[in-house]
């Protein structure tokens, strides 16, 4: 008895194993069943291009790729507000939705914001997922909080002004 080596069977097995995860995550971020299915298909299509490393994919890979596909889809469609419209701000629960705040958040911090505020991951988990050090995550979260605070402030503080100059 031996495992079928055929690549397509391996892909099918990966779909069986991780398809539910991808669909659930896409559905959570997009809040739309049809778009979530679309993203699910695209994620596994992306996987088809990784024939030589099918055995190296794991939960982290599917999280990263699914999140990127969702964010790209929303950026393309200009639907960022749809993503987080109903989520309350973690900074100030009585304030406007987080989705509104993310409109001004730089793209490189949006993924971090999603993992930190929406996924409620720890800094350790985010570092592991993004393949960076925990110190880097900590620093970028500090940046993110400054950005959020600046977006909220009626009168920009010195930190906001200095960031704006950079």
């Amino acid at each position: 008895m031996a495992l079928e080596d055929d690549r397509r069977l391996k892909l099918a097995a990966l779909y069986d194993r991780y398809g539910n995860l991808v669909y659930r995550r896409a559905r959570k971020l997009l809040r739309n069943d049809a778009l979530a299915r679309d993203v699910c298909h695209e994620v596994f299509l992306a996987l088809m291009g990784r024939a030589d490393s099918l055995y190296e994919v794991n939960v982290g890979w599917f999280y990263r790729v699914t999140t990127n596909h969702c964010l790209n889809l929303l950026r393309d469609a200009g639907k960022h507000s749809m993503l987080l419209q109903t989520l309350q701000s973690p900074v100030q629960p009585s304030g406007p939705p987080l989705g509104v705040l993310l409109r001004g958040v730089p793209p490189d911090l949006q993924t971090l914001a999603l993992h930190y505020y929406v996924d409620e991951m720890t800094q350790e988990e985010i570092a592991e997922l993004l393949g960076v050090s925990q110190r880097t995550v900590c620093s970028r979260i500090a940046d993110l909080k400054i950005v959020l605070a600046c977006l909220w402030a009626d009168e920009p503080s010195h930190a906001c002004q200095s960031r704006g100059k950079n």
Binding site: M1, A2, L3, E4, R8, L9, L11, A12, A13, Y15, D16, R17, Y18, G19, N20, L21, V22, Y23, R24, R25, A34, L35, R37, D38, H41, E42, F44, L45, M48, Y55, N58, V59, G60, Y63, L87, Q88, P90, P93, H115, V118, D119, E120, M121, T122, E125, L129
Partner: protein, 243 residues
């Protein structure tokens, strides 16, 4: 597992639960933390149960992209359909299901309460449950449904007629964590090769999390003794080649 900021960090993140479900937590302290948490949190336990459900096999897919992107999307969907078409959706036949289920289970209850049910898909035939001593053919696809009276870590290993030991589910890496006595369909599917003869499928339930390679190495040393800390149950069948 809630978006409510007031309860942030009280439960493991979905990412951590997903890694736990897939047996990817290499850090024992985190695996133990999640396992203990699941015992007292119905919300997270339900999440893990749901996470173990195999992916849906969608039969109808329609393009969702703007018209300019439809051609590429259509080609993509064809490719995905080719993959999804391979999915093995267990739909037990009425004939086999009509059998008293206990009659299937009794023949394989060698470790108390530990059960291995094998779902077989052969060619265009519908999915059937394997009975002890059944005859299968090269090319048949197998999936494994397991249940256990106690939580632990499970894996399935095959031994063919020549004594060759193969890890089947998972094919490599950590055993699957089992936290419930419910039947769990393992995500892996295997295809029988063309070596004829008697074969066995062994389900292992281990107290400690470990890699399946540990079990295969132990079995290659001694086929008759279960690795330390593990219980096992076995299903035997014969494999024919050709018609």
């Amino acid at each position: 597992m809630t978006a409510d900021s007031s309860t942030r960090r009280s439960c493991p993140s979905e990412y951590l639960l997903d890694r736990y479900t897939q047996g990817e937590l290499t850090d024992d302290s985190r695996a133990i933390f999640v396992a203990k948490h699941l015992q007292g949190c119905e919300g997270c336990a339900a999440f893990v149960r749901q996470a173990r459900v195999p992916a849906p096999a969608w039969e109808v897919v329609k393009p969702l992209r703007p018209a300019g992107a439809r051609r590429a999307t259509a080609l993509s969907l064809l490719a995905v359909a080719a993959v999804v078409g391979l999915l093995f959706v267990p739909t037990p036949t009425p004939v086999r299901d009509a059998l008293p289920f206990s009659s299937v289970q009794n023949v394989r209850r060698k470790a108390s309460g530990l059960h291995l049910d094998v779902l077989v898909k052969g060619g265009t035939k519908p999915v059937e449950r394997l009975l002890e001593g059944d005859e299968l053919a090269a090319g048949d696809r197998l999936r494994f449904e397991v249940s256990s009276p106690a939580p632990g870590f499970v894996g399935v290993i095959g031994i063919d007629g020549t004594g060759t030991v193969s890890a089947l589910a998972p094919p490599k890496g950590w055993l699957y964590a089992l936290t419930t006595s419910d039947k769990i369909l393992l995500p892996d599917a295997v295809v029988l090769d063309n070596a004829a003869g008697a074969e066995s499928l062994l389900l292992f339930l281990c107290e400690e999390r470990q890699e399946i390679e540990t079990l295969t190495v132990a079995l290659r040393r001694n086929l008759d003794v279960a690795p330390f800390g593990c219980r096992t149950t076995r299903v035997n069948f014969n494999k024919r080649v050709g018609l």
